[in-house]
């Protein structure tokens, strides 16, 4: 079943991005169990497509421009995350680029453990 649903997720895309109308058509053909798995995989896929740029203070325009250039064509969101203290943290697919004070401090704490 996993293989089949995986293929369906591939079929739900146009030009490498999820396509709402295709998803609706496919969803109509699925049973409850398959639908649940389909949803989970779509959710994951959506999550992977999105780039999240967290910053301690609201992201400045220059940063937004630069990030847009790097991840051209992808959905990018810029949430504010004060717990970072300073700096930024970028998440895309299953990677995290951490350049925040929070990350720095936790690395210090770990080196004392």
């Amino acid at each position: 079943m996993q293989k089949k649903i995986k293929n369906l997720v591939l079929l739900s895309q146009t030009k490498g991005k999820l396509d709402g109308s295709k998803i609706l058509t496919i969803a109509k053909t699925l049973g409850r169990k398959e639908l649940a798995l389909y949803y989970r995989m779509l959710y994951q896929k959506r999550h992977e497509e999105k780039v999240v740029v967290k910053t301690a203070i609201a992201a400045p325009g220059s940063l937004i421009l630069r990030v847009r250039k790097i991840f051209a064509g992808q959905d990018i969101i810029f949430p504010k995350e004060p717990s970072l203290i300073a700096g930024l943290c970028v998440q895309f697919a299953d990677f995290i680029f951490d350049a925040s004070f929070q990350g720095y401090f936790s690395s210090i704490r770990k080196s004392y453990d």
Partner: protein, 508 residues
């Protein structure tokens, strides 16, 4: 005053610089499922097999299955609860254990944490648990004996440094006792011309009480100072039990790299197989014979291949492995026993019938072998042990016939008497390993017929008093045997003279 503050500031700055925080890419994943000590994580596309994974709450595990979409992580330590949806990150480190001389005399977990209530141990070096065994060019053939102090083993099934000798038998037949005797006997080697052997005892899936007893016993016999105990108890979970022998081996390799000789006991690999089977079933790996996964042979062969005797160019150290396997109803043709028999260089086979009949150690000399053989014996032991094997084999055959009660001719009767006395001499209580020279003296006496006229019931008393006599009156002879290690005419003559002299005293 100001100056010292400045200095402190400079120091602090140096310390800060040393942290070296480099903002970098980390590969992460999301916890999907958790159960039976296995966490399924999506993402983590860059994680490698066997790599450590860290969870948000501080728990750690290692990647054990890499599927198309998921990574299965085996938990090693759990801090708080891991929740579904929480983050897991790749660490870039592989499973490893710290090792140092300070580990000697300690009881540690397979992760290197102390289990004996004493303070933590500072590791000198991190050793990887999984490592390719040394290749052919680094090795030399086994030629140095490793004395166990057990008469029947040192004479008939000699073990050499770098060998893998299986101890196999039903439950409670004295398997652990043989391994412990071998460890205790390494103390005698101190100050001798051969290198001190360091010992590692790996307890897999045993009861805590059992391990405590073993630690006490080793302490009592003064063997703890050169022994490390790695324990993963029955309650520690399958993951820890699975990595325990590899952890022990990694510590052994630390000493090997320093050119030292190490003896490692895996007690026992049957429970290790259970742990591995459990992990594999939880991970839904296809089950094969007796529900073991297909790669269980490889699991044990890669572990035991790491027993090695390095040549001088590579430090000349060695790792001798004594794996223990428990059989059910003496069935050596079960899956795990056959596997390990074929991997090792011989086996010491223990039988409950012998054990119950009071023949202890309950070694069946007929089917126990050491494929290294005489190369790992001193010349004197090799010489006197030759007739021993033959006499015993003939005795067993004749004894079977003699049961029919027919009249026996004199030659046969002598053979039977001799065999009975040899069997008696080879009996030995546990935790009482014997010096080489003592073994030589008594075995020489019995194989040359000097005990034939001693009543069976008196044989063990004869042995004890004879050794005592040699120690007290003829210490020179004992020292000479130890020094020469060859059966010269002179030694043979001296032995004969002393036995005859002692026998006169004994009869009175």
């Amino acid at each position: 005053m100001t100056k010292s503050t400045d200095e402190i500031l400079i120091q602090l700055q140096k310390k800060l610089n040393a942290f070296g925080f480099e903002p970098g890419l980390t590969n992460v994943g999301t916890v999907e499922q958790m159960g039976d000590g296995v966490v399924t994580v999506s993402g983590l596309s860059k994680v490698a097999m066997g790599e450590m994974v860290e969870f948000e709450d501080g728990s750690t595990g290692f990647a054990f299955n890499l599927d198309e979409d998921y990574v299965s992580v085996i938990l090693l330590s759990t801090k708080t609860a891991i929740t579904s949806g929480s983050q897991a990150r790749k660490t870039g480190n592989f499973l490893s254990i710290g090792a140092a001389e300070a580990f000697l005399g300690r009881v540690v977990s397979p992760l290197g944490e102390p289990l004996d209530g004493k303070p933590g141990i500072k590791a000198a070096k991190m050793m990887p648990l999984e490592r390719i065994a040394p290749g052919v060019v680094l090795r030399k053939s086994v030629n140095t004996p490793l004395f166990t102090g057990i008469k029947s083993i040192d004479s008939m099934i000699p073990i050499g440094r770098g060998q893998r000798e299986l101890i196999i038998g039903d439950r409670s037949t004295g398997k652990t006792s043989i391994a412990l005797d071998a460890i205790i006997n390494q103390k005698v080697a101190r100050g001798s011309r051969r290198k001190q052997v360091l010992c590692i005892y790996v307890a897999i899936g045993q009861k805590q009480g059992n391990v405590a007893q073993i630690v006490d016993k080793l302490g009592e016999k003064g063997a703890l100072s050169y022994t490390i105990i790695v324990a993963a108890g029955a309650s520690d979970g399958a993951a820890l039990q699975y990595i325990a022998p590899f952890a022990g081996c990694a510590i052994a390799e630390y000493f090997l790299q320093k050119g030292q000789d190490v003896l490692i006991v895996y007690d026992d690999l049957t429970k290790h197989s259970f742990a591995y089977r459990q992990l594999s079933l939880v991970l839904k790996r296809p089950a094969g014979r007796e529900a073991y996964p297909g790669d269980i042979f490889y699991l044990h062969s890669r572990l035991l291949e790491r027993a090695v005797c390095l040549n001088e160019k590579n430090g000349g150290g060695s790792i001798t492995a004594l794996p223990i396997v428990e059989t059910q109803a003496a069935d050596v043709s079960a899956y795990i026993p056959t596997n390990i028999i074929s991997i090792t260089d011989g086996q010491i086979y223990l039988e409950s019938d012998l054990f119950n009949a009071g023949i202890r150690p309950a070694i069946n000399a007929g089917i126990s072998v050491s494929r290294v053989g005489g190369a790992a014996q001193t010349p004197i032991m090799r010489k006197i042990a030759g007739p021993l094997r033959l006499d015993l084999a003939q005795y067993r055959e004749l004894a079977a016939f003699a049961q029919f009660g027919s009249d026996l001719d004199k030659a046969t009767q002598t053979r039977l008497d001799r065999g009975a006395r040899i069997t008696e001499v080879l009996k030995q209580t546990n935790y009482a390993p014997m010096r080489q020279a003592h073994q030589v003296a008594i075995i020489w006496a019995v194989t040359n017929g000097f005990l034939d006229d001693i009543a069976i019931d008196d044989v063990s008393r004869f042995e004890i008093e004879f050794i005592e006599y040699l120690e007290n009156v003829e210490k020179k002879l004992i020292d000479k045997i130890d020094k020469e290690e060859k059966l010269t005419d002179e030694i043979a003559k001296d032995l004969e003279k002393e036995v005859i002299k002692f026998k006169k005293r004994f009869k009175i």
